[in-house]
Symmetry: C2
Subunit: 186 residues, 2 copies
């Protein structure tokens, strides 16, 4: 079993991330992966016992990256807008839905995603509560955890529809969100 610090290992994760984004999780096979990284297929199994292990390792890497980005949001001048843009980013959205599809039938991935999702949501709610109290919004009528969920789900959903080339209502929706963020954060 290869070392976690190995350069080769992180090259494999890079290739896996790219393949997954471009061609979906089903395209992440030991052979295609190795071809992309210029390595032999068997090496994949040296660094990751099973393909599931590889997916879990990749998800953890992505998850840690997102949590670091989220901490930067806390220090941002416009936290609400930063939250929105973090979840709306199109390349991130496509990758995240690949993991979701994987999670639908692989328990190891599902529990990773669930754990990350709860943590991420909790942080968002905390950031939101501060911003809302500062703006004098009634946090009883609009619980920050619920608003955080709406904000994230809409941002991600919109990004996904962009990737799928669905655009109905998007112009109006973006304008509406802009206005609401302005009201909440201004």
């Amino acid at each position: 079993m290869g070392a976690k610090t190995s350069k080769t290992r992180s090259m494999l994760l890079d290739a896996a991330e790219e393949l997954m984004r471009e061609n979906g999780y089903a395209a992440v096979t030991s052979r295609k992966l190795a071809a992309k990284a210029g390595l032999k297929p068997q090496l994949v199994h040296y660094y990751f016992r099973t393909m599931d292990d590889l997916f879990v390792a990749l998800f953890q890497r992505v998850g840690e990256f997102l949590l670091r980005r989220q901490e930067q949001v806390l220090q941002s001048e416009h936290p609400l807008r930063a939250i929105w843009e973090l979840s709306n980013n199109p390349t991130g959205v496509v990758l995240s839905y690949e993991f979701v599809a994987l999670a639908n039938h692989r328990k190891a991935i599902r529990s990773e995603i669930a754990e990350f999702g709860e943590r991420f949501r909790k942080n968002q709610a905390k950031i939101l509560r501060t911003a809302m109290e500062r703006s004098g919004i009634d946090t009883k009528a609009w619980p920050p955890s619920a608003v955080a969920a709406i904000l994230e789900l809409v941002a991600r959903g919109l990004g996904l529809e962009d990737a799928l080339e669905i655009s109905g209502g998007h112009r109006e929706l973006r304008k509406l969100v802009d206005r609401l963020i302005e009201e909440l954060g201004g």
Copy 2:
């Protein structure tokens, strides 16, 4: 190439739908499909030239079903609640995200989904506009197409998170949605 009316053909589609729901799109292979339906793998290719053709046929079947359900919503006593429940339904949500993942890298599926998505969104917006005007909501400040998008994205996102066993903010969110639907539709 087999007849579209064939009993065997629709059995294959049934099995494909079930497999996709339970084990994800990658589990829909000619062999597994045939095993589930008690048939020979080669039969899959008799009724559907390629696996992509099968996915497209299945999506069209599901899409037509949903559009029929949507028409019933029009005649419902509580259209807003009916819209919400149509998109929030957990078994439907899981299947729909499998198709989304497929669409990320198969053009034939993507254009099917895009076409369906636009049609569905447009219908929702029409239902919503009627309901909102009846309740005296300002449809300039709240464009029905944007509200339709929010409603659908949140409903589907919430259903998805339920399937993934993420629950942060859900209780508060459902309560909030209940209240808003009440205000809009009461």
